[in-house]
């Protein structure tokens, strides 16, 4: 602003007094400050790297990793390159995120709804759970589940059998599972598809019944067929293998969930669900009392009021904060590193340690978590759009 003040001072004053000028000026100043800071930090990083005689490069990702990873979804051998090791870590993170989001949603909603229960014990239990879990750091809870709960399970020699279907020992949990990975994927896909189709059919049926008072039989039949088809696929088509205890300890067959995975999943689910429970509670409370009363006067019972009148309205309040909780869960999976679960962050740490390239590895890490979180946001925003008021 090196304006020549002679003769133009009147104009300058007018400009300085103009609110529109300041609005733009502040934007420009902020932008300049941000750019200066950014260039300072990048320049500093660059100088430091040069001083250590290194250039910013991702070519090390093609080098041989040389370390082994305890569990992986994809085939991995120690002589695979670093990028493949990172993929293994990402795969493990995703299993934790997927399992975590599914279980958190169920447990969180149950705990949230339970806080409205007329049953004294159920109500108190829900409040106790939320109050206790929310106030303890997640890292402590991870150690608690890993060492105090799963750590006290017996050694493989005296493992616990659950009805001969599942086994528990201090190495992990063994559950019945599909005969092959392809079949397992098929089963999961069929289940997810069936759930979505069933929800859609149920809504359709409800809509028809509300609008016409009768009908909806076709949808009921479709639902039954869908249920039977799903049951057939899951029971017969999956070629289930049941874990069998071996004499002297150990288990053959079935799916082994490592103790690290189970402990991380339990801790994450219990922790995040407590927050989700509060979100659900807030959502339900946001629906005005008049809605309850009006629904009750129509002759609906408490369960139907919740399901048909209150919950659909509460969804508007519930979904946006749920988005953050899912993202928190995703980011918090990186803490599972502390209890030896080989997720993305764990593998990345080993990688930067062996290669001495923390900057590059952290760029990859940040990009990965950013993409994961954005994907969750994308899905949740779509979901949010469907439950908003449609004003015409």
């Amino acid at each position: 602003m090196a304006h020549d003040s002679g003769g133009k001072s009147f104009e300058l004053k007018a400009v300085l007094r103009d609110e529109r000028f300041w609005k733009i000026a502040f934007q420009v100043i902020t932008l300049i400050v941000v750019l200066v800071l950014l260039s300072f930090f990048l320049g500093n990083l660059n100088r430091n790297l040069l001083q250590q005689g290194r250039a910013f490069s991702f070519s090390f990702l093609r080098n041989q990793a040389g370390f082994s990873i305890g569990e992986s979804l994809i085939r991995y051998r120690p002589n695979d390159p670093y990028w493949r090791a990172l993929m293994v870590g990402l795969g493990n993170t995703l299993t934790l995120v997927a399992g975590g989001i599914a279980l958190t949603t169920v447990l969180g909603v149950v705990a949230g709804v339970a806080s409205f229960s007329k049953n004294w014990l159920v109500h108190k239990l829900s409040r106790l759970y939320v109050g206790l879990v929310r106030n303890i750091p997640l890292l402590l809870q991870l150690f608690f589940w890993y060492f105090a709960i799963y750590g006290t399970l017996p050694r493989p020699a005296d493992q616990i059998s659950v009805l001969g279907l599942a086994f528990l020992n201090n190495r992990g949990v063994y559950i019945p599972w599909a005969g092959s990975a392809v079949l397992a994927m098929l089963g999961i896909g069929a289940t997810v598809g069936a759930v979505i189709a069933a929800l859609w059919l149920w809504q359709w049926r409800t809509k028809i019944r509300i609008e016409t008072g009768v009908g909806g039989q076709a949808q009921t039949i479709a639902l039954a067929v869908l249920g039977l088809a799903w049951l057939a696929i899951v029971t017969v088509g999956m070629n289930w293998t049941i874990p069998e205890g071996i004499e002297g300890g150990g288990v053959a067959g079935g799916l082994r969930l490592s103790r690290e995975y189970v402990a991380a999943l339990t801790a994450l689910v219990f922790y995040t669900s407590a927050f989700v429970a509060e979100i659900v509670r807030a959502g339900i409370q946001s629906v005005s009392k008049g809605q309850w009363e009006a629904a009750r006067t129509l002759g609906l019972n408490a369960g139907m009021v919740m399901r048909l009148v209150v919950f659909p309205q509460a969804m508007r309040v519930i979904i946006p904060p749920m988005n953050s909780e899912y993202m928190n869960l995703t980011k918090n999976t990186s803490l599972a590193f502390a209890i030896a679960f080989p997720e993305m962050y764990s593998v990345a740490t080993t990688t930067y340690n062996q290669t001495g390239r923390p900057v590059e590895v952290f760029v990859v890490l940040m990009a990965t978590y950013l993409i994961l979180c954005l994907l969750i946001t994308l899905v949740m925003n779509q979901l949010n759009r469907t439950v908003q008021f449609k004003e015409r």
Binding site: F147, N353, V364
Partner: protein
């Protein structure tokens, strides 16, 4: 639609990340600036009046914090020796506990002046990670700790069994290499924190715990029932452990290197913290130079000429350090073995001080 834009940016980042060779270095005069000239760590340390030394802090005998908060051990004594040489005071050290994953970043980021924490000298760390390794202060090998009643006697017995290991260590790689050679399918359980790794081993998550032998011996003493655990008769690797500084700072590296050699040389000369006074005005020109009574060995690298006198008086020679921390005078009673002087059949050898 802004979300899609953000996603596109993020995807672009990842593509760039996987593209390789995305060198974003600005042409800074073309050549790599060799540091050291302007500001050596040596100047930083003397200016600060204190040495910041990165240690493990959890290995009895090497670096361990007792109830009163005092650090002791072989690694710690190396820090003290450097502080005595540079600042004239072995106590002018601030210890920073670093785990195996953060140690190199802490060092190259300048958070600590040097590392003295069971770091194995390897070529990739020396070259691609950008470190400088001062002489080895402890020659070690990787071992395996198992429960005495587990029935495991060789590495082959680990087929299908779990091994606890600390991440970011050469141990993790050596274990993989050994098992690959033997074609043994084992399950690694990798912890960031050594305490968590030993806890998991102790409660039976893993059949074996692998680390440097000296560390296993030291850690065994802290397990609830030390007698129930034995070391397997295997040595999986060479583990030369010693202090570390960063690349491109020769002045500081020289100081750490020659103070470490000085400890070994002092033992070879037979100079101890007890008898050093008797060497006042010695006839032996080698010793006179070594103790700064003649020549400028110290001032040539920016230290007082009598720097080794300070080191030996306040910390002792290598033999004294060894015996008091891990040798006969300690609870571990480790044999000198490879860590004896070269003149006694060991590997400890200092180039001449002249």
């Amino acid at each position: 639609m802004r979300k899609w834009g953000l996603l596109a940016v993020a995807l672009g980042l990842t593509v760039a990340a996987c593209g390789g060779e995305t060198t974003t270095t600005t042409a800074d005069g073309g050549g790599t600036t060799t540091g050291g000239g302007g500001g050596s760590r040596l100047g930083v340390v003397t200016g600060r009046g204190q040495l910041i030394c990165g240690v493990d802090g959890g290995i009895p005998g090497f670096s361990f914090v007792d109830e009163s908060g005092t650090y002791s051990g072989l690694d710690v004594d190396v820090c003290r020796a450097v502080a005595a040489a540079v600042l004239g005071d072995a106590e002018a050290v601030e210890y920073r506990r670093l785990d195996s994953t953060e140690r190199f970043t802490a060092l190259s980021g300048g958070e600590v002046d040097m590392l003295s924490r069971n770091t194995t000298w390897t070529i990739s760390r020396d070259t691609s990670v950008g470190l400088e390794f001062a002489p080895t202060t402890f020659f070690d090998g990787q071992g395996m700790l198992v429960r005495a009643d587990s029935g495991i006697e060789t590495l082959e017995d680990f087929a299908g069994q779990a091994v606890c290991v600390e991440t970011g260590t050469t141990t993790e790689l050596n274990l993989t290499d050994q098992m690959r050679q033997l074609n043994v399918d084992f399950e690694p359980v990798v912890f960031q924190d050594a305490d968590a790794a030993y806890a998991a081993y102790d409660e039976g998550r893993c059949e074996g715990m692998t680390s440097d032998k000296s560390q296993l011996v030291a850690r065994r003493s802290t397990l609830p029932n030390p007698d129930e655990h034995v070391l397997l008769e295997v040595t999986m690797s060479k583990e030369p452990l010693g202090p570390v500084t960063t690349n491109n700072d020769s002045a500081w590296f020289d100081v750490v290197k020659w103070v470490t050699y000085g400890l070994i040389q002092a033992e070879e000369f037979g100079i101890t913290s007890e008898n050093i006074a008797t060497f006042e005005g010695t006839e032996n020109p080698d010793i006179a130079r070594f103790l700064g009574q003649e020549g400028t060995l110290g001032s040539d690298m920016g230290l007082p000429n009598d720097f080794m006198v300070q080191v030996i008086t306040q910390v002792g020679n290598y033999g004294e350090i060894y015996e008091r921390n891990v040798g006969a005078d300690s609870e571990f009673a480790l044999e000198r073995g490879q860590n004896a002087l070269w003149s006694e059949g060991g590997l400890m050898y200092s180039p001449p001080f002249r």
